[in-house]
Amino acid sequence: MIALLIRDLKLAFRSGGGFGLGLAFFLLVAVLVPLGVGPQGGTLARIAPGILWIGALLACLLSLDRIFALDFEDGTLEILIPSPLPLEGAVAVKALAHWLTTGLPLAVAAPVLAVLLHLPASGLPWLVASLAIGTPALSMIGAFGAALTVGVKRGGLLLSLLVLPLYVPSLIFGAEVVRRGAEGMAVGTPLAFLAAITLGSAASLPFAAAAALRMSLRQG
């Protein structure tokens, strides 16, 4: 289990991929939106919570196919399935590795980008909190989607199509937390929902994802 986590982190760093690039993409979205939308501060501040959450979501999405596709192509999954590691655990560990290299850096970097988008300072702590609490669900849901599309060649876009609707609740509650936080309102309810989604996905989706992986690989 720990060997798998370490290996996944190592691979993410070595490939020059995972980590830095997710962040970079997040940054690019935060930069492109003012360019596309125009620089009026009022509008930007209003849309900032939503845009930041959407940026985080897309940054997460783009690296999802790394979770299983490479391991599928080079045969690692075929060896992992009959190995002594329980596949459910392996899936959870891989989602964790994805979160550590994508979601966590996003949460840490978000305040800097929030400033670019004129988010009021009172929203910053809630931005970090909502991302820290909400992004694990994104990784876990993403791992489930990646398990569904693992046998499909270059399933990247199909994966996006499957996963994005599943991200809707997290997005709504996450952006709501930030918006309420920025306006100084109480954030308890949406934050609780966000946490519930994360816990629920972490508790149930590894089983669904492991089942999907077994089925994808079993195709004769």
């Binding site: 609707p165 609740p169 999907a212 195709q219």
Partner: protein
Amino acid sequence: MSLWEYANPKKFMQTSGAVLPWVAGLAAICLGTGLIWGFFFTPDDYRQGSTVRIIYLHVPAAMMAINAWAMMLVASLIWLIRRHHVSALAARAAAPVGLTFTLIALATGALWGAPMWGTWWEWDPRLTSFLILALFYLGYIALWQAVENPDTAADLTSILCMVGSVFAVLSRYAVNFWNQGLHQGASLSLDQRENISNVFWLPLVISIAGFVALFVTLVLLRTRTEIRARRLSALIARERLA
């Protein structure tokens, strides 16, 4: 004789072949009566004017859009638990039908919204959740098409259908939480009959029955085609090996 026998492809082909003409006839009669009655022989609503005629398409389509997903969920569970091929193929056959109904509900709703709410599209919870439902249908259909091995495709889409159902309900609550909305609540339940005046009620119910029959007809037709397609690929594969 157990009910599961109908899950045998051959038995299903025989039974569905016998049932189809009747269901198709029922669909034609109900749709014909309900829609013609609704369109030509009902008065304008005092508030909504002639736009109330949209209701005969909008409401049945919206109901069937949800029911089709529910049917797919049941069929998926049957496939996962009992591995009856017909059930998986029926789920596959229902998806495009459900998607079409969803699109009809969305389009008629949008057109209705223009005069009533002054906008084509409003991010009202019910509307939004229908849009998300359409996305679920799209993803489900795309997954069926992307996976090559038909049994694997059935497995994966079944799991997607289950997980998707949970998240569809979840997002319904999420959007509700986020915005109270313009759309009217349910007014058609039988005990609340007075909410919608009698003149509109009967043709609406007949249209709904027509949509149900239409759904069954289309799903039967498409399931039969899917079964034949599987038989065809089995034959072709045998030919190749020979």
